[in-house]
């Protein structure tokens, strides 16, 4: 197990695996998202309260879910990097941040657009909305700190510490709806009992979530590979790797 872990964590090995998996991930993601979109936009019945407006759920919920997932991933990767001094983990963390920020932004925008018909205003200072906004600022703080510290080694460790400190925010976002009486939707999927929406609406949503997740992984692979290339630009395996790629392509 450890052996396997270390092998995966070696940049050349990871680079090769990532290059192989990436196209598959991307196609699968597109397939899932197309299915989900068809199911959600065409097959699913209109909601009896919200009409067709509810269909934005198929963008909003996966994006919101991924925003939190990517922060968690970033923090875990930073932790691994700090404890075991593993450069690849730092690359993963660094690559996650912009993607996570983008999903957070998407969740905020779609939420706000949805809020206008639902609550009559784009924005309310509701705990969940607020904490999602805070999440965006956490991502931004991470990104800005990295860019301010020009030296990669320093940036890795400093931003890693920041990511770990910020992890406290995650449970607050997820449980805010239950802790405070919020106007935002309570959990309907991610809870222990049976989901509380109809299957017609549910399966496209699940497909969308999986599709987003795969898309996220595909983007992550690309940007981790870029990171690895940047960091190891002087290493020998890079020239060899790129050399062979040139021969094949």
């Amino acid at each position: 197990m450890w052996n396997w872990f270390h092998k995966l964590a070696s940049p050349p090995h990871f680079y090769r695996i990532a290059s192989a998996f990436e196209p598959w991930l991307l196609w699968l993601a597109i397939a899932c998202m197309l299915t989900g979109a068809y199911g959600g936009l065409v097959l699913a019945p209109a909601d009896h309260v919200q009409g067709d407006g509810f269909r934005i759920i198929y963008v909003h919920v996966p994006a919101a879910f991924l925003s939190m997932f990517s922060y968690a991933l970033m923090a875990v990767a930073s932790g691994i990097g700090l404890i075991w001094r593993m450069k690849l983990a730092f690359s993963v963390a660094a690559a996650t941040a912009p993607v996570g920020a983008a999903f957070t932004f998407l969740a905020l925008v779609t939420g706000a657009i949805w809020g206008q018909p639902m609550w009559g205003s784009y924005w309310e200072w509701d705990p969940r909305l607020t904490s999602e906004l805070i999440l965006l600022f956490l991502f931004l703080g991470y990104i800005f700190l990295r860019q301010a510290l020009a030296e990669t080694r320093q940036a890795d460790r400093a931003s890693g510490i920041l990511a770990l400190v910020g992890v406290v925010n995650l449970p607050i976002i997820h449980y805010s709806v239950e802790w405070w009486n919020s106007i935002h939707q309570g959990p309907s999927l991610i809870k222990l009992e049976a989901p509380s929406i109809t299957t017609d609406m549910l399966w496209p949503l699940l497909a969308m979530i999986i599709g987003y997740q795969l898309l996220f992984l595909a983007i992550l692979m690309t940007s981790v590979r870029t990171q690895v290339l940047q960091r190891e630009q002087n290493a020998r395996w890079i020239t060899e790797q790129l050399g062979t790629e040139n021969i094949h392509g």
């Binding site: 020009a150 030296e151 990669t152 080694r153 630009q233 002087n234």
Partner: protein
């Protein structure tokens, strides 16, 4: 100072800054009573090496051993024997020299005779001015006072003769030689001709990158 003998050893050090490899495969050893002086063109990595040997920077590869143990594993023990003076002087600009010295001594749990030190460094007249008002050379002297009063065995001095006047340089060299004579270790970087005892000093020339 006790009479135990100490040693610092470094192996296979590779020093990087940003995307540039400054030095590769450095190794060396310093023992009680010896001095090493780093020389080399500007930007060859002297400061970086000194900071790495103190444990302030982490080397990309290689290790630094104090008494045979890696320094980041015995940090507090190592620091008890170490006194470092870098390009920045390590003094609070708003406190006077005396106050700075008193704080440093008490942090080490020592009681130094300040007056003798300040006299030797010719700082008595301005010892109660805030450091920000001192001249460049006086600031350097005050930061040397921190080292000389520390009681540490291992002195690491980055270009200690900068800004000092003639008599200041000679005084410092005398103090360094005494320190070596009492079994201290000394690691410096500099461009001047050495004033240290040639029997005890080893000069390491670092090659410039470009």
């Amino acid at each position: 100072m006790d009479t135990t003998s100490y040693s610092l050893e470094w192996q296979d050090l590779t020093l990087w800054r940003g995307e540039r490899c400054l030095q590769q495969g450095l190794k060396g050893k310093l023992a009680s009573g010896q001095a090493i002086t780093l020389k080399g063109p500007n930007g060859c990595g002297k400061t970086t090496l000194l900071r790495t040997l103190c444990g302030l920077s982490q080397p990309e590869t290689g290790k630094v051993l104090w008494q045979g143990k890696q320094i980041h594993k015995i940090r507090n023990k190592f620091h008890a024997h170490l006194a470092y003076s870098g390009h920045n002087n390590g003094l609070k600009r708003d406190l006077s020299t005396r106050e700075n010295l008193r704080f440093a001594a008490r942090l080490r749990g020592r009681h130094t005779n300040q007056n003798e030190l300040l006299n030797g460094l010719r700082l008595t007249a301005c010892a109660d001015l805030p450091v920000r008002n001192l001249s460049a050379g006086q600031q350097r002297r005050a930061s040397l006072a921190l080292i000389l009063g520390s009681g540490a065995e291992f002195w690491v001095l980055d270009e200690p003769f900068t800004n000092l006047d003639r008599s200041g340089c000679e005084w410092l060299a005398r103090r360094c030689n005494d320190h070596l004579g009492m079994g201290g270790l000394l690691l410096t970087a500099g461009h001047q001709d050495s004033l240290l005892n040639p029997e005890r000093e080893t000069i390491i020339e670092l090659a410039g990158a470009n």
